[in-house]
């Protein structure tokens, strides 16, 4: 019995605009001072009217372009009507039948390393609601409503049910998160609710007779972490399989409706939520307070011209341009735009992408983690690291010595000295790490040492190359900056030449 998990995600992204979507109130996460970022418009007071925030619409266009969506030339606003205390107008201004964008896609790397092409059904713009807080003491205290969030521009991105596992859903969300962060359209802070996710989940179960049945679709609401998305879908897939084996209920059976479930992150379970009052009829209709939006060629061209390089394209380019492996390119890109910029400066500066990627994904990343800072606050500027790596690439410095310089630059910083290219030379001098440029000196030293180790020389001549160890040690002791590999090669060469 082959079982496939089928998932579609609805992702809500708060756009990072200065002001709210339909009024001039500041758009900022501020739960500590409830109801202070409000005005007659977002409070839904009688007589107040909405005016569209052009910047919110532009950021939406940017996102839709990055998601390869078709962009509507004519789009409009609709009212989605329902009663809830966090919705002061008792309708949400949203987009119903003519969203500003539709039919896009996002490529996601699957667990097996394959690229999965996930179709986007639509992306539309709407206003966020306020937030209700309830007394959870069980003593029946009043619920409270904070309308600071009310009117935050919210982009809803709806995928097709193209995701085939919990891990894939997580990967999709991570890739989307990365893209949105790159685009700068949202701060994507999941703790603060700037990125929220609902998952539609069911199973396709292949029967013994070869037919495939589908289990009833469940919508899991309010998943607000990557881990939560993966865990909730994993749980839900198991639950549905068990449910099916018990009841045999499947999609399309009479009386089977879409179920809404919540996610309890503490107990790691989904739970049935009270169904909305009957089947909800939102009575959508065009909002007569807002004009439809027409989008011109010029406007689209302008937005297109302002776009940055998307993460997927940059990943490909890093592979091609700097010779990175797919894995390394992903590690760099997935760290975010600033990190990738840092890598790219280092790679360009030292002229060796592989050397650069080894350093930034190992040494730099380790330091960032230990110091709990982002690359923007990393003490060694990209040009300094590039200068250091260039010496290694040129053969002027061993990798091991390079690490010593790297560590020294960091401890410089910790002592209040800014790491600089000049300091690199100074450190090399101080520590005598310079590799010998003149092989003549090395050769004469080797010759002198060989002369003292006749037995070892004999062994080497007979092919016992490991006998070179003591000679290497001796030479290295006298020449600090020497590269052991080079010394070893030279010793063997000299001995064999002289045989």
């Amino acid at each position: 019995m082959k079982v496939t998990t089928v998932v579609g995600l609805e992702v809500h992204v708060q756009l990072h605009t200065r002001t709210k979507i339909f009024c001039g109130c500041v758009n900022r996460f501020n739960p500590d001072a409830p109801n202070t970022q409000t005005c007659p418009v977002c409070l839904g007071l009688p007589g107040a009217l909405p005016v569209m925030n052009q910047e919110a619409f532009r950021l939406s266009l940017v996102t839709a372009m990055a998601l390869n969506c078709e962009l509507a030339r004519f789009t409009k606003w609709d009212r989605k009507q329902y009663y809830y205390p966090d919705l002061p107008k008792a309708y949400q201004i949203s987009q119903y039948d003519l969203p500003f964008s539709h039919d896009g896609w996002l490529d996601v790397s699957s667990e097996d390393g394959e690229t999965r092409h996930i179709r986007i059904n639509r992306a539309h713009l709407e206003e966020d609601a306020g937030k209700n807080t309830h007394d959870e003491s069980g003593r029946g205290g009043d619920s409270q409503v904070d309308l600071n969030r009310c009117g935050t521009p919210l982009l809803e991105i709806v995928s097709e049910p193209d995701l085939r596992s919990a891990a894939e859903a997580k990967a999709y969300l991570e890739e989307l998160h990365l893209l949105l962060t790159y685009l700068g359209v949202s701060d994507c802070n999941m703790q603060e609710g700037s990125l929220r996710c609902d998952a539609n989940v069911n199973l396709h179960i292949e029967q013994n007779n070869g037919e495939t049945i589908a289990t009833p679709i469940v919508e899991i609401k309010n998943l607000n972490s990557f881990r939560g998305v993966e865990a909730a879908i994993t749980y839900e897939a198991d639950r549905q399989q068990e449910e099916y084996s018990k009841t045999g209920r499947k999609l399309g059976d009479p009386g089977v409706e879409k179920e809404t479930r919540g996610w309890n992150a503490e107990r790691n379970v989904t739970f049935a939520q009270r169904g909305k009052e009957e089947a909800s009829d939102y009575r959508y209709f065009p909002d007569p307070d807002l004009m439809p939006v027409t989008v011109s060629d010029e406007q689209l061209a302008e937005v297109r011209g302002s776009l940055c390089e998307f993460p997927a394209a940059r990943r490909d380019r890093f592979e091609a341009e700097y010779g990175l492996s797919k894995y390394d390119a992903s590690v760099v890109i997935n760290q975010g735009e600033k990190f990738a910029d840092y890598f790219e400066s280092v790679a360009k500066g030292c002229g060796d992408g592989k050397q650069a990627v080894n350093w930034v994904t190992q040494n730099v990343l380790r330091e960032l983690n230990e110091r709990s800072v982002t690359v923007a606050d990393f003490p060694i500027p990209a040009d300094v690291l590039a200068a250091l790596l260039q010496r290694i690439v040129n053969g002027d410095l061993t990798v091991k010595s390079g690490r010593e310089v790297f560590d020294e630059l960091l401890s410089d910083h910790d002592k209040g000295m800014p790491p600089s290219i000049e300091r690199i030379s100074a450190i090399i001098d101080e520590k005598g790490l310079a590799m010998l440029a003149d092989t003549g000196e090395l050769d004469s030293l080797i010759d002198a040492t060989i002369a003292d180790h006749a037995k070892a020389v004999e062994d080497i001549r007979n092919g016992k190359l490991q006998a070179a160890g003591p000679i290497i040690g001796k030479v290295m002791k006298q020449l600090k900056g020497a590269d052991p590999q080079t010394v070893r090669e030279r010793i063997i060469e000299r001995i064999q030449q002289n045989s």
């Binding site: 007071l45 107040a48 205390p85 008792a90």
Partner: protein
Amino acid sequence: MSLSTHTTQDLLDQLQSGQLTSTELVTTCLDRIDAHDERIGAFLHFEREPALQQAAEIDRRRQAGGTLGALAGLPVAIKDNICANGTRTTCASRMLENFVPPYDAHIIERLRQADAVLLGRTNLDEFAMGSSCENSAFQQTRNPWDTERTPGGSSGGSAAAVAAGMTPLSIGSDTGGSIRQPAAFCGVVGMKPTYGRVSRYGLVAFASSLDQIGPFANDVTGVSRLLEVLAGHDERDSTSIDRRVPAYSQNLDQPLDGLRIGIAKEHFVEGLHPEVEQAVRSAVDVYRSLGAEIKEVTLPHSKYCVAVYYIVAPSEASSNLARYDGVHYGFRAEKFDNMIDMYSATRGEGFGDEVKRRIMLGTYALSAGYYDAYYLKALKVRRLIRQDFDRAFEEVDVIASPVTPTPAFKIGELIDDPLAMYLTDIYTISANLAGLPGVSLPCGFSSEGLPIGLQLQAAPFEEERLLRAARMYERETDWHTRRPAMNSNSAS
């Protein structure tokens, strides 16, 4: 002094020349309200002191030689569905009985800038839904010409206040005739501007795509002066149009050469009171005698106006009024079991019958499975109605018609027959559906001594031409100079 003999322009001239102070004028208005409003019921609430203070301040500034606004010192009464910062705005509904907006509507800002004196708040049908002020939750406004009759509605208080000489100017809102119909019933001039000409910001919404704020006065000049202040672009209303506002009052007295007046046969059909028809046809004759060309036009879809209106308006209303749920402001029921029950009890107790009727109509029309057959179809017919007018206005400059099928009806006469009540709007609704400007001006009296109104409509943003055409008629007649007898013993 008595206001009844003065026009807006007279008063402005006297204020400017110093013959009259704003304090005197406002005092006269307030005294007249005191003397007669118990009988008429035009005002829902007003405060003497702030109005007098404002008047005194304007007088002081005038004496000091300061620059004053276009309506300096002139009292204006405001329909109680337009928000003014710190002033109770009730919409004649229990739901908003104690609602005090924290902001000014655009037109309130404009009036303050023009140094008008905000006199008080006038009665209306609850949330502007009605044609008689019978749907006010608080009081019945009576027609100053016959207190057993309604003043019309929904802006009945604003029309009656001007007719009764309690204020030279007032503001109404017109969604299906709510300015023009009470103007006709009360024998004053009332105008609905083009949709988008006056900002709706701060007007408590009834039907957003139809609502428009407009002026009342006792002559066309007064209406023009007030419209000059109200009209203009406002960035806070997305449906407000950014277009130059002509100086409407400037060339008002210049007759229009080659004026083409359209008469639509669809306007003269069964149900039209013979005396109203006679008065309107006589008015057309006046235009003919002034050299205007009279042309027959056809508005084939006008028979669907009432049907379309009673789908579009209630649909939008059902959505606009959903916010009155007892959560954030306004009335909240005292007894309820849970949240849903709180919503139901609040709305059940807070709204009157007509408002509930329209919310139900609209909710039904927007429901899944009915939307296409009702709302969507109504929008399509609405477009056809607009096209009828576009075609007609290729042939003529203004269309003359009755405002209402009959003169003012009696209080209680139609209250149990909503459909008959809805049909009283049959001539005014189309201007809202098509977004056109329309003006109602006095054109005669019935045998019972009730005013009859003439409606003129023009193409969008042709207010200047419309008002000049109206003024041409007004100059030739004296209907607008007649005033109801205001002896206090005529109380019913």
